[in-house]
């Protein structure tokens, strides 16, 4: 089979929730009213590191309308992780619903539920806390030193590799094929840094906890991981899983931030009050007390021969995980496992990874998941090497990228939180992606044109290539159930969590393709732990590949059941029947309709419900590939960088829905561009966030957006449903290196610290003067 045979898949079906959303129909967590609803507010720590000596809630309880005030004294002390990952989670168990210690400005201290939000706020302000302020450490390298304040000095936390040195996660590996850098003609070494970054989903974190008529706790919550929420809330509050139902309505963006289980506290307030309780973070709280991208220092050292062979590569990444180690190990490992295999390395490879606790906001999953941090370094280093050996950066990449049929020792050595799996590349459209991108940006023409420039305004072009994964092999699992209705429509029940990505729609397209029907004959119900089968959730670029695989298998089982019944109706052999255009058609041209099949099964022949379930997991994680090209203009007098054109060519296998796939990529790339030129959380010297608002933490608006063009480069991934691979994350990894490389092309100046704000660019230009062409590359040989 290939893409030209497809009738529903690879076509731009309209997103099935788009009509309701465009008309403002109630759809999100907060769009439903609850009688007797209480409002929750949390007291957040004003200190980066402190022990609670005394906490007095008596005045808070006296505020009219207050129904509950919870402190650490009221809750079970259960070390757990808020990382919504498969069980057992590879993140350390270092978090408590409430604790007698606070570890960053914005950490939870106490929780209030009251009849009104105002009363809850008032009560929060009346909680008296006597803190013993402890020395704080805000810097990762300081935090690892002997004698640094120990952030997790509690005895009951689990799986922290070296709490004394604040190391939340560590992983090292080496492939050794001889003496390091022996064959290299040139060796380069540098460090690249990335700051605290916020997801900025426009819907803040919000959850409503209430009880159904049987007394079970229901969590209506904006989450990417409904099944992990159920499990982790049960664990943290010591209640049975069977007593919890999690419902994910439409959710207003996630990007990883909602792969985090923060629902325990609102659940605890509901359990205490036996009333429905709503907890909605303010925008400021979302910035400070939800999750962020892991700030990183990525040191890379690589060797290259004059002929363009990369001889050795070493990556040492140090991530700041903040006060808790959510995703600390896995993001760190992905910074190497998703990046190093991008290019062939002939001899030696080494990875040194640390995730370090500091008294700073908590990092977590964020689109790109470490690969963003790793590719910034690796792709800039590629251009440094190309420049030194006098090879065009595009040709240098074409020569070295991982080709069809090739593997990498990294795939096996590094998985997510454990050993990975061996795999070879089974689909790769990178050659075409590079070619298309170079054509669209007019690479050769502009390289030549910009080779000789004068005056303060300089232009340049840059390239970056990336890969990601498609789910976590042998970890992620998804399942689906389908049942047939009298009119030939089908219910599709999936655990997969559509967080605005359109997964409900593309999963319906996959089922419709198998059954030879239209997408709108599939009614999708997703993400309700009482109703839908299990799915790990929306993360690791897994939904299309893993959940899509489950839906395809399920639909195939349903198809076989339909054919069984139709064979009786038509008096034909099963192997002579196929589903097409809403009918079962025989080789001789006779046919019966799907409603006829459904009614026959329900009412006449061997009465039964046509229904099936299937699960899917994968042994490999086929990477999508991308080539990104940026054209920039740099004002060397002000340091201002303007992106004139941006082209992103993506190989995601078969795009199940090309319009939605383009939209995923556009959004990822613009988020990456916004990281590149604007975004950075700022902190005072005591760890207090200074710009926790959209006014002061600037994300790109429509007016800021450069011309941005996504091109889908079709390939066929044999392991994916109808040839599909993932698309959602990869695009965020390109802009930092592509723009950095373009700035170098324009000015001869390398930038190592994101974002490339005018002050940083200007400082780099001034540092470079007077010989801008030489570059700041540190030559070791």
């Amino acid at each position: 089979m290939d893409a030209k045979d497809l009738k529903v898949v690879n076509k731009p079906a309209i997103k099935m929730d788009a009509l309701g959303l465009a008309c403002g129909e109630p759809a999100f967590t907060d769009d439903m009213d609850f009688t007797g609803l209480l409002y929750a507010k949390l007291l957040w720590s004003p200190h980066a590191h402190a022990r609670i000596k005394k906490i007095d809630v008596s005045a808070a309880l006296k505020v009219p309308g207050v129904k509950a005030v919870l402190t650490y004294k009221d809750l079970p002390r259960v070390p757990h992780t808020t990382a919504g990952q498969g069980y057992p989670e590879p993140s350390p168990y270092d978090t408590y619903t409430l604790d007698n210690k606070v570890r960053y400005v914005g950490d939870r201290v106490a929780a209030v539920a009251a009849e009104t939000a105002e009363a809850a706020k008032e009560a929060v302000s009346r909680i008296k806390v006597d803190y013993e302020v402890l020395p704080a450490v805000l810097d990762t390298f300081e935090a690892m030193k002997d004698g640094a304040p120990v952030i997790h000095d509690e005895e009951d936390s689990k799986n922290i590799p070296d709490a004394k040195h604040n190391i939340a996660a560590k992983f090292d590996f080496e492939v050794r094929n001889g003496e390091w850098f022996k064959e290299a003609d040139h060796v380069f070494e540098h460090s690249w840094t990335m700051p605290y970054l916020q997801h900025c989903a426009i819907e803040p974190h919000i959850s409503i906890a209430y009880f159904d008529n049987t007394g079970r706790l229901v969590l209506r919550t904006s989450t990417q991981v409904p099944f992990h929420v159920r499990r982790i809330v049960a664990q943290a509050l010591k209640i049975p899983v069977k007593n919890i139902r999690v419902i994910k309505p439409r959710i207003g963006g996630g990007f990883g931030s909602k792969q985090e289980v923060l629902e325990d506290i609102v659940a605890a307030l509901a359990l205490k009050t036996r009333r429905p309780v709503k907890l909605e973070y303010t925008r400021k709280e979302t910035f400070i007390s939800s999750r962020t991208r892991h700030p990183a220092t990525c040191r890379m050292k690589a060797g290259v021969k004059k002929d363009g062979t990369i001889t050795d590569a070493e990556m040492e990444i140090t991530l700041n995980t903040g006060a808790y180690g959510s995703h600390a190990l896995t993001v760190m490992m992905c910074s190497g496992s998703h990046t190093i295999p991008m290019y062939r390395v002939k001899n030696n490879i080494r990875f040194i990874g640390r995730s370090v606790y500091t008294n700073m906001p908590v990092a977590g999953a964020y689109r790109g998941y470490g690969a963003t941090q790793g590719f910034f370094a690796w792709e800039c280093l590629m251009d440094m090497m190309a420049a030194k050996i006098g090879m065009d950066p595009v040709e240098f990449r074409k020569m070295n990228y991982i080709k069809l049929g090739e593997g990498s020792p990294v795939f096996k050595a590094m998985g997510e939180g454990r050993e990975g799996v061996e795999q070879v590349i089974t689909s790769c459209g990178l050659f075409e992606a590079i070619k298309k991108g170079a054509d669209e940006i007019k690479w050769a023409e502009k390289k030549a044109k910009y080779a000789s420039q004068s005056g303060p305004i300089r232009r340049g072009v840059g390239v970056a290539c990336m890969m990601q994964g498609s789910g976590i092999p042998e970890v992620d699992m998804a399942s689906a159930t389908m049942k047939m209705n009298e009119d030939g429509s089908f219910n599709l029940l999936v655990g997969a969590a559509d967080l605005g990505t359109g997964s409900d729609t593309i999963l319906a397209q996959i089922a419709a393709e198998v059954l030879g029907i239209k997408t709108d004959d599939i009614i999708v119900t997703s993400s309700d732990t009482d109703i839908t089968p299990f799915d790990v959730g929306a993360y690791a670029s897994s939904t299309t590949f893993i959940s899509g695989g489950a839906v395809k298998k399920t639909a195939e089982k349903v198809r076989d059941m339909i054919i069984e019944v139709a064979a009786k109706i038509l008096d034909q052999k099963k192997e002579d029947l196929r589903l097409e255009g809403g009918k079962v058609v025989a080789k001789d041209g006779s046919s019966c309709s799907l409603p006829e099949v459904a009614n026959t099964s329900l009412y006449y022949y061997n009465q039964h419900q046509i229904t099936a379930s299937a699960s899917h997991f994968a042994h490999t994680s086929p990477p999508p590939f991308q080539a990104n090209f940026a054209e920039v203009e740099v004002d060397t007098e002000t340091g201002k960088v303007k992106i004139l054109d941006y082209v992103s060519c993506v190989d995601c296998g078969t795009a199940i829905n090309p319009v939605l796939a383009e939209g995923q990529n556009d959004g990822a790339v613009l988020n990456g561009i916004s990281h590149t030129l604007s975004e950075e959380m700022e902190f005072s010297s005591n760890g207090t966030p200074l710009n926790a608002s959209f006014r002061r933490y600037k994300i790109f608006s429509a007016a800021d957006t450069p011309p941005l063009r996504t091109f889908i480069i079709p390939t066929w991934e044999p392991a994916g449903p109808f040839g599909a691979k993932s698309v959602s994350e990869i695009g965020i990894n390109g802009p930092l290196p592509a723009v950095a490389n373009a700035i170098y092309n324009a000015t001869g100046v390398w930038l190592f610290d994101a974002p490339f704000t005018p002050d940083r660019v200007l400082a780099a230009i001034k540092k470079q003067a007077p010989s801008p062409a030489a570059g700041s590359v540190k030559l070791l040989h």
């Binding site: 403002g24 613009l670 429509a702």
Partner: protein, 164 residues
């Protein structure tokens, strides 16, 4: 004066306005913000709150035809005025508005949380300037943040709806 003190000592205001074409009279607490009035009192849930400080535009509504952030306005300021929320954005004949259609067909709706605000802001622009250029559209939508789409498909949706 339509302001008085309620039994609880809260300042109460008798608000007269039009909501999505229908004249409405409500007694409201003077301290109520416009978005609280819309979502809480009117039960119109299409208007979203993303930041509560006028930066994201998810709460945009039309007041006398002008796009405003309803989180920054007090409900009392609606007195004597016409409010149109996303629920009141309709095409000719009461069907889908061209913007709603083009947002759907162009793929401009991803999570959809910012969509009502974007459609309201675009409607305000196209009413005022039916021939708005791409640059006009970009400028008008500066106050509407979207993290999902990268704006490309939003901009093409507004362009598609122009003149319809």
């Amino acid at each position: 004066m339509s302001e008085s003190k309620s039994n609880a000592g809260l300042s109460v205001f008798a608000l007269k306005c039009a909501v999505n074409g229908e004249r409405t009279e409500r007694e409201i607490c003077s301290s109520r913000s416009l978005i609280e009035f819309i979502r809480g009192d009117l039960g119109l849930k299409g208007t979203k709150e993303g930041c509560g400080e006028g930066e994201c535009g998810a709460c945009m509504v039309l007041v006398d035809g002008k796009a405003v952030n309803s989180c920054l306005m007090m409900a009392v300021q609606l007195h004597g005025k016409e409010l149109v929320t996303i629920e009141g954005i309709k095409g000719k004949g009461g069907g889908l508005h061209p913007l709603q259609k083009s947002f759907m067909t162009e793929g401009a709706v991803q999570c959809g949380f910012c969509t009502p605000g974007l459609i309201v802001a675009s409607e305000a622009l196209l009413r005022r300037n039916p021939g708005a250029t791409l640059e006009d559209i970009k400028l008008e939508l500066t106050g509407n943040l979207c993290r999902c789409t990268g704006y490309e498909k939003v901009l093409s949706a507004v362009e598609k709806a122009r003149g319809k």
